[in-house]
């Protein structure tokens, strides 16, 4: 249970932090992803660093796709949920995290367009 809460927290914080560095600080998505990944590997255990890095991909989205803090929150919860639900699927395939992030981003965009 605590592990799931930690995954969810890491996901939400990571998405927001990447989005903030990307758009508010204007450093761009690649550097934002790199900074969040670096913070994650320096401060978190290995598995949670992986979760944070995966969630960070969502924050690389453009303003059109993830336009607000609420959208980052929705996307963060979604990517956290998908990570919790799919730990073993395609484990070890490079890009699994990115695919998880892309699915989360597309679903959260749909949800945000309904409620936003």
């Amino acid at each position: 249970m605590n592990k799931k809460v930690a995954i969810m927290a890491c996901s939400v914080v990571s998405v927001y932090l990447t989005w903030f560095i990307n758009h508010n600080l204007g450093l761009g998505s690649i550097i934002a992803n790199g900074i969040v990944g670096l913070i994650a590997i320096l401060t978190l255990p290995k598995d949670l660093a992986g979760v944070s890095y995966t969630a960070s991909f969502v924050g690389m989205s453009s303003m059109v796709v993830v336009p607000s803090i609420l959208a980052t929150l929705i996307a963060g919860v979604l990517v956290g949920s998908i990570i919790i639900l799919t730990p073993t699927i395609y484990a070890g395939v490079g890009g699994k995290g990115g695919t998880t992030a892309a699915v989360s981003t597309i679903i959260s965009r749909l949800i945000y367009s309904i409620i936003g």
């Binding site: 761009g28 990944g37 453009s62 395939v93 890009g95 995290g97 992030a101 892309a102 981003t105």
Partner: protein, 139 residues
């Protein structure tokens, strides 16, 4: 941007991530992060210095860096990683206008590259079993 430069950058991004991840034993997140941050800083810096089009190369290196997170179970050595990186570079070129702005797009390209390589390897293992060493086909 020149196709050959894109492919070369993809190869470098992929093998650096793979090397840090497996040969240095730092793990896939560290390997990919170093490639992402390094390429982001280098190529963005070059763009600021007046070299046009280099930001795209950062994206290419990052995509290959994500592919470099692949497990040794599927990609056994550096030569195979070069092939995965080339596939990711080609797919990047082919998918330039697809899903632009969607977070995870580059990772998805990396995943497709890895799946394409794994499929190709399975096919070769099936048709020409002597092509790879025995352990390479045990995935």
């Amino acid at each position: 941007m020149n196709t050959i430069i894109i492919i070369l950058v993809a190869i470098i991004g992929g093998i650096v991530a793979y090397y840090i991840s497996h040969d240095l034993g730092k793990g896939p997140v560290v390997g990919s992060t170093i490639v992402t941050l390094g390429s982001g800083l280098i190529f963005t810096g070059l763009e600021y210095l007046g070299v046009p089009g280099t930001v795209e190369l950062a994206i290419v290196a990052t995509t290959a860096g994500y592919a470099g997170m692949v497990s040794k179970k599927y990609v056994n050595n550096m030569t195979q990683m070069v092939v995965v990186s080339i596939i990711s570079g080609v797919l990047y070129i082919l998918s330039t206008n697809l899903f632009v702005g969607i977070g995870g797009r580059l990772g998805t390209i990396a995943a497709v590259s890895c799946f394409a390589f794994i499929g190709l390897k399975r096919l070769i293992c099936y048709k020409i079993p002597s092509f790879f060493e025995r352990d390479d086909c045990s995935f």
